[in-house]
Amino acid sequence: MLALSAHDWGAIGLTIKLATTVTVLLMLIGTPIAWWLANTQSRFKGVIGAVVALPLVLPPTVIGFYVLIAMGPSGFIGQLTNWLGIGTLAFSFWGLVIASMFYSLPFVVQPIQNAMEAIGRRPLEAAATLRASPLDQFFTVVLPLAKPGFISAMILGFAHTVGEFGVVLMIGGNIPGETQVVSVQIYEHVEALDYAQAHKLSFLMIAFSFVVLLSLYSFQGRFSNLVFHHDKQK
């Protein structure tokens, strides 16, 4: 049944590569943001939290539109990349990575932040009385205790990037091997009335998404709803 064309396989490989790259980068960037949000008393907490959550509510067309303008020669990203000598980023793999990182940011930051907030101050204060430096506290107390949050963040970030469509359609340019990801490929099959091909890829997407969510939920069950219902912990 799943006799896929070379283009389809290319799209699948590219999608996995994109989602992996975005997830790794987001874990690196998202962790400090989540840590700050979980601990700060700053009055900017609300503002930063809202900015991080924006992609949850914005239509992908808004993000795609502004990313396209920002990456153009007169946009701020475009001017920066031109100054760095790497040209403009639209229609390139790294352009998609940057757009996807913004798009998937809340899916990574929020589970980590929730898990960190659920730990509370006490374990950290206990560690401090044992003379653990803040860095020590982070690696020996926060990381192990917030592990379920990190795993959820990874799964959600990866899955959400795989499921991305609108932004990629607007800034990708549909180049095989570079920006032609699975969701765009399915769209093209459907638009070209090639329903047989569309069914094959769509079926794969459904199977993939189901497995991801199933593993996420069964995993969360084992950790007493730590990730999304941290309030109950208090």
Partner: protein, 245 residues
Amino acid sequence: MNNFTALICFLLAFVSNTVTAETIYVAIASNFIKPANKIIHQFEQETGHQVKASFGSSGKLYAQIKHGAPFSLFLSADQDKPKKLIKEGYASQDDVATYAVGQLVLWSANPAFKGKEQQRLANAQFNKIAVANPKLAPYGLAAQHFLKNYQFKPSQMVIGENINQAFQFVATGNADLGLIAKSQLPDGESGWLVPDTLYPAIQQDMLLIQSSSHYHVAKQLFDYFKTPNSQNIVASFGYKLPAED
């Protein structure tokens, strides 16, 4: 009190208008947005009917019609899709007519390219060239045909979902060059008009959908598109007229 009277008058006018006027839904290929809006506006003024236009790639609109979208008139960007719909029983042989002939323009928003668009293309001196998807849009097919005469890396070609997206890629400066419809050129802009011998003619046909409950109003609009006044508007937006061929 005065305001209140005005409001009543307005509501009455609105109600009396809706008694005779009908609302029809029309599917229109993306490249024809500007002339369509102008002609439809005049049609609404003259007849009192309301026209709701949906724009998209011809392929998408075709699929929507096949799946029961409430369109009573379809302005395609090609002849294939209307022909298919006739063959599949959605429309009659007699209800089809060419309303415009599209022209392809090589355009750049980059000042360094002005007047040298074709030279840049011939020497492959550009980062990207944007075209509409050849599988979905007739302008994309024409562009693909034309580009066979030129050599550049496959990765230099970026594909918009429809002709408006190809335009967008060029307008935002992300692609140096783009093959767009002449009708899309912004006011005061110019590009290199591709000689029409270099690509298959983009004959754009319109079609009345048989099953529509507003067939007679749609037929009025269909005929309205063929009036000399409408044809002048079509020509003023950079299309050739069917009679010229």
